[in-house]
Symmetry: C2
Subunit: 349 residues, 2 copies
């Protein structure tokens, strides 16, 4: 298969035998390849080409952020949450990391015939509670039903609209060598909780970290208006976020593996399941790129928030080795962080 970058400018012909693979939805290289080869070139426009988690629109003097996500997680109820809560929080977070205050969500269900209405009621109740928690209403929606076997229980799309305060200039293009890289707490909680649940592992205290990040982001921006960029490391985990930013903006990144907060049971489950926690999805964590001089202020503001208690500085952006994410291991070694071709965690979000 050709390299994703080489495919970006001009779509190559599609072979008749080529098929959608599970890995195309994994957040790994195969996902990028699909997007770079088939979607971005066809639909190119300035907002889409920015390739952020949301698009920025200027409407009558206001700056509006607009984002969409479909949720196909299996099972629909998992330790620490369910697909309804995830669908609200995930879309709120895509807005929040762009510095947008969420103001309205849409909710679209695709339901499989035969789904117990009680299961649907539970999901709707989770949507209601998550929406109340954030204070953002579901303003419009849609419900479709497909035959038994044509979908897996419930799929949800939530799209969201938010407002970006005047003067705020956030985005991965603002990241500079010297920037500190912060995470708001422990990583890999969501993906590991779902995987362990699926495989029937009983590993004690595993739960998804699904949570809305808008208040944490607001606190960080109040303390440090000079934040350069934020991301929520979902599909593909922390690694996908860092590798993509390094590659796209030709920046070097250096991470101290020992500085990355990971809960012990999550680390244990990763070892048992043979998974690298850096590749595992998070659903309530923030990665922030801030000027080095603002590191302490940024960390203090995050740690003062319930969702940022375990915030940590995990590394920095460097001018050397552009496009490379280097990991300093606890035993003094160095390894280059790369994405698998197809990350082996399907339907985690």
């Amino acid at each position: 298969m050709a390299d994703a970058a080489a495919l970006g400018a001009c779509p190559v012909p599609i072979g008749e035998a080529e098929r959608v693979l599970i890995g195309h939805g994994s957040g790994g290289k195969l996902t990028s390849e699909l997007l770079e080869r088939m979607i971005f070139p066809a639909l190119s426009n300035p907002a889409l080409d920015a390739r952020d988690d949301h698009a920025l629109l200027s409407i009558g003097g206001a700056r509006i952020a607009f984002t969409t996500d479909s949720y196909v997680i299996s099972p629909i109820v998992f330790p620490g949450g369910d697909i309804g809560e995830l669908a609200v929080n995930g879309t709120v977070n895509d807005l929040a990391v762009g510095g947008a205050w969420p103001i309205a969500l849409s909710l679209s269900f695709i339901l499989e015939e035969g789904l117990p209405l009680a299961d649907l009621a539970r999901v709707i109740e989770s949507v209601r509670r998550a929406s109340m928690r954030v204070g953002v209403p579901i303003v419009t929606g849609d419900t479709k039903v497909v035959e038994r076997g044509s979908a897996d229980r419930i799929f949800i799309n939530t799209s969201g609209v938010g407002v970006v305060p005047a003067g705020l200039e956030l985005g991965s293009a603002q990241i500079r060598p010297g920037d500190a890289i912060l995470v708001s707490g422990t990583i890999a909680d969501h993906g590991i909780a779902v995987m362990a649940h699926r495989t029937g592992l009983e590993l004690g205290d595993l739960a998804s970290d699904t949570a809305p990040l808008h208040a944490l982001v607001a606190a960080l921006l109040r303390a440090c208006p000079d934040v350069h960029a934020m991301r929520d490391p979902t599909r593909g985990g922390l690694a996908a976020t860092l590798v993509e930013i390094a590659a796209r903006h030709r920046l070097g990144i250096e991470i101290e593996e020992a500085a990355i907060p990971i809960r012990d049971p999550v680390r244990g489950a990763c070892e048992l399941l043979g998974l690298d926690p850096l590749l595992v999805a998070n659903e309530g964590k923030l990665v922030a790129f801030v000027p080095a001089a603002s590191t302490d202020r940024a960390l203090a503001s995050m740690r003062a928030q319930p969702l940022g208690r375990h915030a940590a500085c995990i590394g920095s952006v460097v001018a050397r080795h552009p496009t490379i994410v280097e990991l300093a291991t606890p035993i003094g070694g160095r390894r280059i962080l790369d994405l698998p071709y197809a990350e082996p965690l399907p339907r985690i979000c």
Copy 2:
């Protein structure tokens, strides 16, 4: 089962044996019942409670329309269009009938493992062309993949953002007795084309009417700024649109059946398939409620547009028999138009 209206205020307990039925997605009474019983009461807020095809948001002085729709049509390619074109036009139309000029769309795919990439490429190309035709960019997106058998080929969600011009006050609450009811052209083309294709019927000249209505709407509003309300009669057809408006606003509606434009092959196919064309989905038609004095001007402005050539006045809103839609038949009879409990046309959009 209880009456939908009685369930509206307070959700009744969900029985363990109750299941999602195909009819819950049909646009018939069962769909209303699901929404009134489980979704609207749980998520109630002023924008959602308006129950229009889009929500109206006020942001920094601008009036923003926001809408969402998931498309699960089977087959994904049908006479006259495919799921990609439908997904763009459908969401553009939900904005347009609210008087909003579409400015941005999102695009979210749920793909089934094993789908030929060539089929995906065809759909993306249709999305591209439809988006270019309307002049509205796809600004943000998402792609998920589920295992073989966990979805049916391709599902698409498109959400949309549009701007409503200052001063425009549209909505079904503006409809008054005396208003003329106009349709922009022939009805039932979309649903019949899909159904005939599915059943293998060879009935000649059947094709979906999928088309973007924004230019037709703009022309109508220029000619008649006093339009009271517009709808695009999709799932559940013209009947669902009229019955819902009559019931919600306690208005009477009288329709001349002979005045409703229907193409001969569509009428023939309806007879063969045993379908009432008034219940069949349209994907490029407008229903407009205008003051009686504006009827001729409104019809002339629509007929001057390619998509409005066959526009017709089909009836009027009346003060007598509130909540009832009465149909005058060509042979001088009268029948009350009602929705089936579960409309027998699954996955038509």
